[in-house]
Amino acid sequence: MLPFLLKRISTMILTALCLTFVVFYLTNLPPNLEKLAKSEAGSRITDDEVASWLERNGYASPMILRYGEWLGVVPGWTTADADGTVVAGRCIEKGQDPATAARFCGILQGDWGVSSVFKDDVSKIIGVRLTLTGILMFWVMVTMVPVSLLIGILAGMREGSRLDRSLSTFSISTAATPEYVSGVILIAIFASSITGLKWFKGSAASAMDGITFENFFLPVLTIALYGVGQVARMTRASMAEVMTAQYIRTARLKGVSFANVVIKHALRNALIAPFTVIMLLFPWLLNGVVIVETLFSYKGFGWTLVSAAGNNDIELLLGCSVVAVFVVLITQLISDIGYVFLNPRIRIS
């Protein structure tokens, strides 16, 4: 197990490096930097002034070096005045004595930079926003997984039955409806004066202070519905296949009742495939929350990502992408390990 983990983690780190470099490269393209200079130093500055601003703020060195600085493996940039004293640098905060500043300051040192829009530490912003999104995701998973597995199993245990047909229709239609459609429909039905129902709130802004069923149900439902469709389809296919397996016939002809055939013999084998899909849903959820959080103005991770991209907030955008990359890779690792435990053939072979 240990060498497996080590191998997986090292490939994970390598993947993370590659991906963050791509994001770094894209966010640090010259037009972006020019925009940054103009928003920081005034929008009417000349091209020469832009160049000198970029140079003074350490954006002039080669891309790969700046990536190293950002990572924290290359010493941070410094600028000196005419007599050679360091006056400013990546690692020197305002009002700090340059001599006491650290040489390296990057992701590895825990210095994620400062958001140019929120004027706050990126790590702090991401921490707060990620917690909010975490709460949302947790409730989505809690509703989605049991519901979708149940639908999938009920539909798959008797392929082609009336129950299967109706549940399949339901799951196909939810899987085919993207969140921005279902979200709008749900708001229109349950939270607007069109129907006059107004059971729930159309905005989840108040959920950031305290979650109630009323303010949180619609965003959770919007994300969960889409996932339910996908996972239920997958579970149904897997269950239907398992039900035709020869060992299910063996169990049936042993005299096992139908309920026990499903629960004792089919279930575990049928859950192997959906498990991987559920794990794949985590990164998708990170993605999906972008739309839902914006729609319900819930200021979580997705909302932050959107505003960082919209405002050319390079440091925040980079921070978000690092988090996203790690969420993807870690859930994949968990899914591989979990798979091994579900499937005894892999465990000991």
Partner: protein, 693 residues
Amino acid sequence: MSKPDYDGPILEIENLSISFFTRLREIPAVMDFSCTVQPGEAMGLVGESGCGKSTVALAVMRDLGKNGRIVGGTIKFKGRDLTTMSEEELREIRGSEIAMIYQEPMASLNPAMKIGQQLMEVPMIHEGVSKEEAYDRALEVVTDVRLPDPERILKSYPHQLSGGQQQRIVIAMALMSKPALLILDEPTTALDVTVEAAVVDLVKDLGKKYGTSMLFISHNLGLVLEVCNRLCVMYSGEAVETGSIKDVFDKMQHPYTQALFRSIPLPGADKNARPLVAIPGNFPLPHERPNGCNFGPRCDYFQAGRCDAGDIPMFPVEGHDRHDTRCLKVAEIDWNAPLVAAKTTEKAPIGDVVLKMDDLRKYYEVSANALFGGSTKVVKANETLSFEAHEGETLAIVGESGCGKSTFAKVLMGLETATSGQILLHNHEIQSTPIQERSTETVSSVQMVFQNPFDTLNPSMTVGRQIIRALEIFGQGNSDEERHERMLELLDLVKLPRAFAERMPRQLSGGQKQRVGIARAFAGGAKIVVADEPVSALDVSVQAAVTDLLMEIQRENRTTLLFISHDLSIVRYLSDRVMVMYLGHVVELGSTDQVFAPPYHPYTEALLSAVPIADTHVEKKRIVLEGDIPSAMNPPPGCPFQTRCRWKSKVPGGLCEKEVPPFRTLAAGHQVKCHLSDEELASMEPVIKIAAE
């Protein structure tokens, strides 16, 4: 639950008809089928694939699926009609009174459940016993099926056991509740011959011990002879002949049964002097059955206007014990008439050496654990392989799974390169040239006929196109017209109608597909053809025809045929020389007569005794090998066969465990890899004796 006492026949099937319903039509699978199984009796159900024998078994279990329905007749189990029972009643009977053993043991066991759980479930459901009692029962039954270390087995998952062990577990599961009737559906088809022999032995003993009646379904007449008291021959959904083993085997009264026996290689058959007689034509599809006698169109005794006039009932045969046949002309046919000598041929002379293997070795490195990497292990797939093959010769390579015969074929074809040693093809070294780098000439002169014709043809290309493609690759013909002409000639060669060129593979039967495979192999004028179990996936009646075709093409083209097989009957019938392999080693090499007569290598001896022979006159010595074939990843030290050899004690000083035996020459061309002294070898008795009539 107590089982009611009952002393009539265990199973009575009367005029059973089963149909499958599709959207298009009703497809009758079984028609007017009757049979009776008495207590303690073993009934064999024999027939080719698609004849409905498995459908009968599933009907007894009432598990025909959604489309299948019993449309007529009754199935009485201990006097109670199964066809009218409710699901509830059926569940009580399934597993407790009637149990089933399946063809593929691996697929029949739940991969995610421990063996113990799967076994304990049976008495817990049917008798409501406690977990502890169920565990004790499971332990007892696992011991009964002669598995070593039962406690460990109960704790393992199915994939941790070998195929033979899995099948024993399936048998144990069936016996957990001491059923009155055991249905065995091709229980040994997926197993190796020596393992098959042990499993068959076990089934017979347990049947006696528990007094269980059996319904034994098989396509193998030899196995039925060994296990059953009575048998029923099925053809295209009907029982055509039923009776005691002795009557049906020796005094058969139906043309199909007779044709079946004439098409299987029994001892005494010979490819030149007494060739097999294939049944002409093809098995009719269920919705294309002829009027009257289903076998009519393929029958030698067919009489138009009489045999195809109407449904034919079963007729009892006078003077025999419960012997029935579905033939109108039973009284008119002279059943003892000797077989009209089919065309006999001259033995083709054997030419020069075309292929020479010298000390060939092939080792694989595999990582010990598929998912987690880790240390690598060396699998010695082929060890010191040396032999010569001559022009026009058939060299059979015999051995069970894992013996390295397929690896050898891969190395020869160039799909793998040898680790060391030499392969000389017409004095050119080819052992380390992979197939991509071989010249067109080399590639076209060494070709292969594959085991499974169903998977080796491209399903989306017409037959003709596939052969033309082979011709293009082999650089045959100068223009498309020429190649098209050559393709038609090849179809003639394999005796397929020229119209087949336009057909898709799915429109062909198994035997026809294999003929296309053969045509493709010979497209480039192959000098050496490796036939890897070319007929084992085909039905008995088709096997003979395909084998004959191969022999005929060989005689004409003077091809060297390397015939890889595990079926010793067919090997004896068609090969000139035989090479026996075990765990990567050649253990015996000699002419067919030398290998099939003593002195044997101990492994050859066991192999010969394991092969079921469908002839009541043959007396066989039973040698049951204990245990399974060791893993090639972890071969035993010394002689590869020492772990299962019954002669090991005859070699002094534990030499077998220390050294790999040398390859000794016993007679001209007969070599054996064994430590046994000459006297011991000379004392061996023949395994197969044909009793005087």
